[in-house]
């Protein structure tokens, strides 16, 4: 049954008996495809270098702005201690001021 189906398909294949394309025809087809593909790229919406650069710049500006306004300063050194023991935190403000802070649960002012 398989052989008969295979034979029938081959017999009805519309391009099975066509002659192969010549080298020049192949080259012409390739040129047309490459040309079409290049045209599609320039016509479609893809971000160019300026768009990408501008987006990155705006993103960076937003991150820096938020960082200076909202982000807590980077903690450089934190000594972990039991809850009843004083804890020391060292950090630097965006303005460059070094801060050493001791959280002391037993502090009495």
């Amino acid at each position: 049954v398989n052989d008969s189906i295979k034979t029938a398909l081959k017999a009805d294949d519309p391009v099975a008996h066509d002659a192969e394309l010549s080298a020049s025809e192949i080259e012409a087809v390739r040129r047309r495809i490459v040309s079409a593909a290049s045209g599609t790229r320039s016509a479609g919406w893809l971000p160019g270098p300026i768009t990408v650069g501008a987006t990155l710049a705006v993103t960076l500006a937003i991150v820096v702005f938020i960082g200076t306004r909202r982000e807590p300063p980077a903690v450089r050194d934190q000594v972990v201690a039991p809850a009843s023991e004083p804890r020391q935190v060292q950090f630097e403000t965006p303005g460059g001021t070094r801060v050493i802070w001791v959280l002391n649960p037993n502090l009495d002012l």
Partner: protein, 174 residues
């Protein structure tokens, strides 16, 4: 023509002197210890404090919950890149706080006048004087990096406490 040459030479001398001065390692002449009380209530702002201390206070304002900063005492100690200094500051209710300030250069033992010999590290100890018969209590005992001309903020509070004891330590450069 001659006056132009003289002016140019004078300008060159001034610029060269300026560059040489800028490259000179900063030397410390002393330390200013400013004791502050920070409070979550009120709006008191310290007056008559040095420009570096004011700048440091403005820097930390966003990171601390305190709205009011009251100057309790200011103490000046003459000192240098390497040495031990001590003094006493008065806090709330005339509470005496003794402090010890140990300073060291960036590279211990470095030749004087070199960048390595400039101020690099400090240890600050603050002790609250105990009632008669009781030993003093260590309020602060911290080691940190510090440069000549820099103000370092050393503070202590309870977690979510309404008050904080804050020291603004400025290494005053010559």
């Amino acid at each position: 023509m001659r006056s132009t040459h003289v002016t140019a030479a004078a300008l060159l001398i001034v610029i060269t002197a300026g560059i040489a001065d800028a490259q000179q390692p900063k030397q410390v002449q002393g330390f200013s210890v400013l004791l502050l009380l920070g409070e979550t209530q009120g709006t008191t702002q310290p007056e008559n404090i040095s420009a570096p201390a004011r700048k440091a206070l403005a820097d930390i304002r966003d990171f601390l919950p305190y709205k009011s900063f009251r100057v309790l005492d200011t103490v000046w100690v003459a000192g240098s890149e390497v040495g031990n200094n001590s003094g006493t500051a008065r806090g709330l209710d005339d509470q005496a706080y003794h402090f010890i300030l140990q300073t060291n250069s960036k590279v211990p033992g470095a030749k004087s006048g070199t960048p390595e010999a400039t101020l690099g590290t400090a240890r600050f100890v603050l002790q609250a004087e105990g009632l008669s018969g009781f030993p003093p209590t260590n309020v602060l005992d911290n080691r940190f990096n510090i440069n000549a001309g820099e103000t370092v903020v050393v503070g202590t509070s309870r977690i979510q406490g309404e008050r904080a004891l804050i020291v603004l330590l400025t290494a005053v450069a010559k």
